[in-house]
Symmetry: C2
């Protein structure tokens, strides 16, 4: 059930992304480098959350497909820029060379800039002003989170705030935009934002845990990098056991919040369980 | 007259930019690095074109102030990213250290990403869907131009197309968005786009000429860099004399186009003359 709906949402998102990326055909290397990272086997969680939130609030998933495409382009741009030598300096992403390794640094910077610009062009094609506002806010908060991360010097007291911006912001944007595309009530949107806050923490904590004990082959990236580099993560600050407890607590919070929206929330509850026990 | 209106537009833009940048207060270094480049004495040509286009089409300049602020943030982000070591590797900008020299490369990448995101957040606060669409298209085309520049290997046949994207696109976005904020007719918008196409070329050609014979003290950046680095510009490809002829031709085209909009176009014609004879 979960995997079927993820596959369906993903197919709709892929089709829209292919259409949107064709805008870049007059700058072939830009188009190629954007497509390289956009079509590299991402799980499309943010588009799925956006379309599922739209359906949960009584809308048609297709109403949210431009927002879904925009969210995935914003997520992808953030990965490309995060991987740059001046940032996290990651050579691998999703099991293949990261964008700057494949296309060089200048083209990777531009691939990110292009995707971020194109995301907002996508939103202008299907303008729901609340969806635009939610996604622009999420995109900006994500940059704030990355800035705190780059400059915090591993300050543990900033960890939650930082991750709330880095990871939570785009999940909030996804469900808010999806709800907006369905014309949801303020109450439904608030409940979905509470879900996203908790789900974002769950997602980040399980990501940190995977960095410690996951398998490189399943993750498509280097394992143990956080500890090696002395990074401040939920796993390194609290230890694996407490991090796993936190993950369960946030999973519970996320479940409660999404059930309070009303309607069939099976997709969300299954996604929460999947994330809590994920291997990649 | 020209300088008074430029000053007025600039003051309105500064006020809106200060308000918009306060959004970043919870990530102090991001906010500081964005403000460093945004408030570094730019001439605010794009906001001025946006507000003047709005007025020329019968609107109030204040209707276009969010679009004007967004345009300046997008212009500033493009300068920050263009100056990066992996791109043009410029140490100076507007007479002071470029953003990555002042804040480091990671913060400069993020300052650009933050400004681009915040620009679209600004547009979501005052949503005119045509203005959003014009600005998003301009932002994307600008990236296409930069990509062609980085990858063209100095191919002269690409020069016009490349500069049309790099410089023209944001001028087109400025007048289109301004016109949209005034509810202009399709005819008015088309005439303004023709103006922007010609004015963009005029602006770029005079910029190339200044790089050859301008004074570093007036420009606030290195002079003669294009020739030194073997860059393909209008001045290096056609020589100074022919480049100056082209500038006059485009000035003429720009004048004709803006006069065909109807109304008092004095601001535009004076700006064209100013640009044709500019020293910085």
């Amino acid at each position: 059930m979960l995997s079927e709906r993820l596959t369906q949402y993903s197919e709709w998102t892929e089709a829209k992304l292919a259409e949107l990326l064709s805008t870049g055909e007059r700058a072939p290397i830009l188009q190629e480098s954007m497509a390289y990272s956009v079509f590299s086997g991402g799980k499309r969680i943010r588009p799925a959350l956006c379309m599922a939130a739209c359906e949960l609030c009584g809308g048609d998933a297709q109403d949210a497909v431009y927002a879904a495409g925009a969210l995935e382009m914003i997520h992808t741009y953030s990965l490309i820029h995060d991987d740059l030598p001046a940032m996290d300096n990651d050579d691998m992403r999703r099991g293949k060379p990261s964008n700057h390794k494949a296309f060089g640094e200048a083209n990777a910077i531009l691939a990110g800039d292009g995707l971020l610009s194109l995301a907002f062009y996508a939103l202008s094609l299907c303008p729901d002003s609340d969806a635009l506002s939610a996604i622009a806010k999420g995109a900006f908060e994500m940059v704030m989170g990355q800035s705190l991360d780059v400059n915090s010097g591993g300050d543990e007291s900033l960890l939650r705030q930082l991750q709330d911006y880095k990871t939570g912001a785009l999940f909030r944007a996804a469900v808010s935009a999806g709800a907006a595309c369905a014309g949801a009530s303020a109450q439904q949107r608030e409940a979905l934002v509470r879900f996203a806050n908790a789900y974002g923490m769950l997602f980040q904590i399980t990501d940190d845990i995977l960095d410690c004990e996951g398998e490189a082959s399943a993750l498509g990236k280097t394992v143990g990098k956080d500890v090696q580099e002395g990074k401040t993560t939920f796993a390194t600050v609290y230890g694996l056991e407490r991090a796993k407890e936190y993950a369960k607590t946030y999973a519970h919070e996320a479940r409660e919040a999404v059930l309070s929206v009303g309607g069939d929330a099976a997709f969300f509850t299954e996604l929460i369980n999947y994330t809590l026990t994920r291997k990649s």
